[in-house]
Amino acid sequence: MRIVKIRTRVNGKDIQSEVEPRELLVHFLRENLGLTGVHIGCDTSNCGACTVLVDGKAVKSCTMLAVQVDGREVTTIEGISKNDELHPLQKAFLEKHGLQCGYCTSGMILTSYWLLKNNKNPTEEEIRKNLSGNLCRCTGYQSIIESVKYGAQLMMKEKEKEEQQIEVR
């Protein structure tokens, strides 16, 4: 069994590591890097509890090998808040009760993070469709959808504020 060296950037940090080729990305993140916010909920690429961003796109880290992120950038739930300030989506999920048991939450937030990058103000239907690779068993999704909508509003407000600040300068 050959060990492979990889270089990757995870949550803004450069990482060099040695992995077995068969090691799944989710296990690399959890076991090697201690990023336990990414979860495992199924073995058939259905549930999305393992969602992370690879080069900005939401993917299922249980259906990727760690060696495949060599030279790529990975963002996990631990990497979307700035310093100790929660990301607007994280705030929205807390405020709108977009979670119960908390197991699907990081996947829900990261998939929505990716959606909101491409679509600033999605409709309810667009949010539901975009979450079709993420399962929640507790909430019936209603509060998750409200959280995503509210998160989108918060992000737009933040953007406006930033733009105003730039104008003032």
Binding site: E20, C47, C104, T139
Partner: protein, 682 residues
């Protein structure tokens, strides 16, 4: 205690961690030297084990499972589940052997080192096969695990209307997004276990009894628990195996279930058939009901198969004042994974049987289903002949019909369904709580452990109300059997009622203590001294509540059902936190829709599980579901804090309303969940 990667502060339950990804789920635990366990499982529904070499197996651990979960039953000795299959395997997924290695990959590699020869036998897969086949276990006379009767038998009256039907709820996997798992570590003569669980004491008692340890030598601690829905109440073979192995190898052992294992080997719910007969006057007034139920208990009595028979029977008159009722029932052994509780745990089945009959009666009488229902209710409290005590039903349901705007909806569209139900929470035997006041702060530990229901929110609220202590000073910890002496668990719609009552009881005690010492009560006085109080609050009385659901649907040309409205009107007693109440109801409604339209475990003729992914098992996606409409009535209960049971309400009320809506929209009598698209088109 072995050193794990969580410090003491991290034992508190804090749901705000989940948005940051800093929760503490059982698979997040790391301990130096820990082994990872993989279980070799039976590929056959029924077979004789000719030879077995490798791993640890029944020759190393010959014990049987001591059942102590919700609704545990003591079956005949030969139907008690062995921890490892011994001599025979009796369901696909049954543990046969276990292997251990320093990581999960190597551990799975080791499965190849175990050699098993089987002689496949013809399995008993369905309820009908169980009735007609020789017993699956040697030493038993038949495949009947248990039998129970409720009510007094009566001879069929010569009623003008007699209706009969056979109704069924297929098996469903509980499918929390986090599968089962635990870490066991035997150190200094104490077995320390961290588990994903809704009931630390059930796991402790089960392990102590199964492994022959004294209860004070087993400590079970709850990790953050990623959903449970009934399936993480008691112990399972894997828990005993991992604990045994940690003792044998002198190392911590971790076992994390995979989804495929969850689908084959975690106790699923439902799987119940009811043969119903009702007798009615010409005006639609039901005078008598007879029922016969069959529970598919699976291969052993380790689940809730046996217990569920009398429980279902007791609720089979629903919210109606039916004077005569008689129900017989059997739990039957089949070569499938043992059945267990799934959110509702018998309540949805009982309600399904009676509500489907009320709709049939409405159709027979050409009456509105709401009118038939109201006609059969009492204005006064009613003690059913099956042993259920309910409050005056009619006033509540008359209001429900208005609140749900049922009559308007029924005029607007064809596909409309209405359901009424009684929720019987699992109050037996009460619940424990411990409160420690130290350094000006309050810590709370519970016998029944939160996995997202919002215990911490309502506990802070109640303490604030009772003791005037600000919410920030209160910390709620995850379950730990070393802190609470005893406890039951978070299941059966009981937490807000029983934990609430226990917390209020402790608060009253503390108040009295402070008054005694300081002459009058103030929170400053309370927090200025250390206190340590524990109660096990027993609530043997009945605390039923009512609920009603409305569903409207459209059926697509291929029989796919689009749920347009899924609304509820529930009496939740005093809502301790409105958002949490709504969250519980929404989630339960999704599961109710799932049961009715999407979910099921299906087995082939030879007992193989066909639905072997979480998607095939039908857990609904956001796209499958509507926006829910929920109204709550807050009729305070007799408890000091006024709460009533809630969690299971939607899983009882939604399937019955929804299947009626689909029945009306399709024009086809529907008898079974899940409803398949092809049942609905020509």
């Amino acid at each position: 205690m072995p050193t794990i990667n969580w410090n003491d502060r991290e034992l508190e339950y804090d749901s705000s961690r989940f948005v940051k990804g800093t929760g503490h789920f059982v698979d997040d635990i790391k301990i130096q030297g820990m082994l990872f366990m993989t279980v070799l499982r039976s590929p056959y529904a029924r077979a004789r084990i000719i030879s077995l070499k490798g791993g640890i197996s029944s020759k190393d651990l010959g014990a049987k499972i001591a059942s102590v979960g919700e609704g545990a039953s003591e079956g005949e000795a030969s139907s008690v589940e062995p921890i490892f299959a011994s001599g025979f395997v009796n369901y696909v997924g049954q543990p046969v052997a276990a292997v251990f290695a320093e990581d999960r990959y190597k551990s799975e590699d080791l499965l190849d080192s175990v050699e098993v020869d089987y002689e496949p036998l013809k399995p008993v897969v369905t309820i009908d096969e169980a009735l007609s086949s020789p017993p699956i276990h040697k030493g038993m006379k038949s495949n009947i695990l248990s039998e129970a009767v409720k009510g007094q038998d009566f001879s069929d009256p010569s009623s003008p209307i007699v209706l009969e039907d056979t109704l069924e709820n297929n098996r469903i996997s509980t499918n929390p997004i986090e599968p089962r798992g635990l870490v066991a570590s035997f150190e200094g003569g104490v077995l320390n276990v961290w588990a994903s669980t809704q009931a630390v004491h059930s796991v402790k008692n089960g392990l102590a009894e199964t492994l022959g340890l004294s209860k004070d030598k087993v400590r079970v601690m709850q990790a953050d628990t990623g959903g449970a829905f009934g399936s993480k109440g008691g112990i399972y073979p894997e828990y005993a195996i991992a604990s045994f192995a940690s003792m044998k190898y002198g190392k911590p052992v971790k076992w994390i279930e995979t989804r495929r294992e969850h689908l084959t080997s975690t106790n699923p719910g439902r799987g119940v058939r009811g043969k119903m007969k009702i007798f009615s006057e010409k005006n639609g007034k039901i005078t008598g009901m007879k029922g016969e139920i069959m529970v598919d208990a699976g291969a052993y009595g380790s689940g809730s198969g046996g217990f569920s028979v009398p429980f279902i029977e007791s609720m089979m008159t629903g919210a109606y004042a039916i004077e005569k009722a008689f129900v017989t029932g059997k739990a039957l052994l089949t070569n499938k994974v043992p059945q267990g509780p799934y959110r509702g745990a018998g309540r949805p089945e009982a309600s399904f049987f009676i509500e489907r009959m009320l709709d049939l009666l409405a159709d027979e009488m050409k009456m509105d289903p709401a009118d038939v229902r109201l006609l059969n209710m009492s204005d006064k409290p009613f003690n059913s002949p099956l042993g259920m005590k309910i409050d005056a039903a009619r006033p509540f349901f008359e209001t429900a019909v208005r609140e749900l705007e049922y009559r308007r909806e029924a005029k607007l569209a064809k596909g409309v369904g209405l359901s009424f139900f009684v929720l019987v929470p699992g109050t037996y035997t009460g619940e424990s709580a411990r409160m420690i006041v130290k350094d000006g702060k309050i810590g709370v530990w519970l016998g029944g452990n939160s996995h997202g229901q919002g215990h911490e929110t309502f506990i802070r609220k109640l303490i604030n109300e009772e003791l005037d202590v600000s919410k920030e000073l209160v910390t709620v910890y995850r379950g730990d059997t070393s802190v609470t002496k005893d406890g039951e668990g978070a299941w059966g719609s009981r937490s807000a009622i029983l934990i609430g009552a226990a917390i209020v009881a402790i608060c009253k005690k503390l108040r009295t203590e402070v008054e005694k010492e300081f002459g009058s009560y103030s929170s400053e006085s309370l927090l200025s001294r250390d206190h340590d109080e524990y109660v096990f609050d027993e609530k043997p009385f009945s605390l039923t509540s009512f609920g009603a659901n409305l569903a409207t649907v459209e059926i697509g040309r291929f029989g796919n059902v689009r749920v347009k409205k899924c609304n509820a009107y529930y009496d939740v007693g005093r809502a301790l936190n409105r958002e949490m109440v709504l969250g519980q109801i929404h989630g339960g409604m999704a599961q109710g829709i799932g049961q009715t339209l999407h979910e099921g475990l299906f087995y082939s003729e030879d007992g193989q599980l066909i639905t072997s992914s979480i998607s095939d098992a039908g857990v609904p996606l956001a796209e499958d579901l509507p926006n829910f409409g929920v109204k709550i009535a807050e009729n305070r209960s007799s408890l000091p804090h006024g709460a009533k049971g809630l969690g299971e309400a939607p899983t009882i009320g939604v399937p019955t309303a929804l299947i009626r809506a689909v029945e009306k929209a399709s024009g086809k009598r529907l008898r079974k969940t899940p409803v398949m698209p092809e049942d609905l088109i020509e």
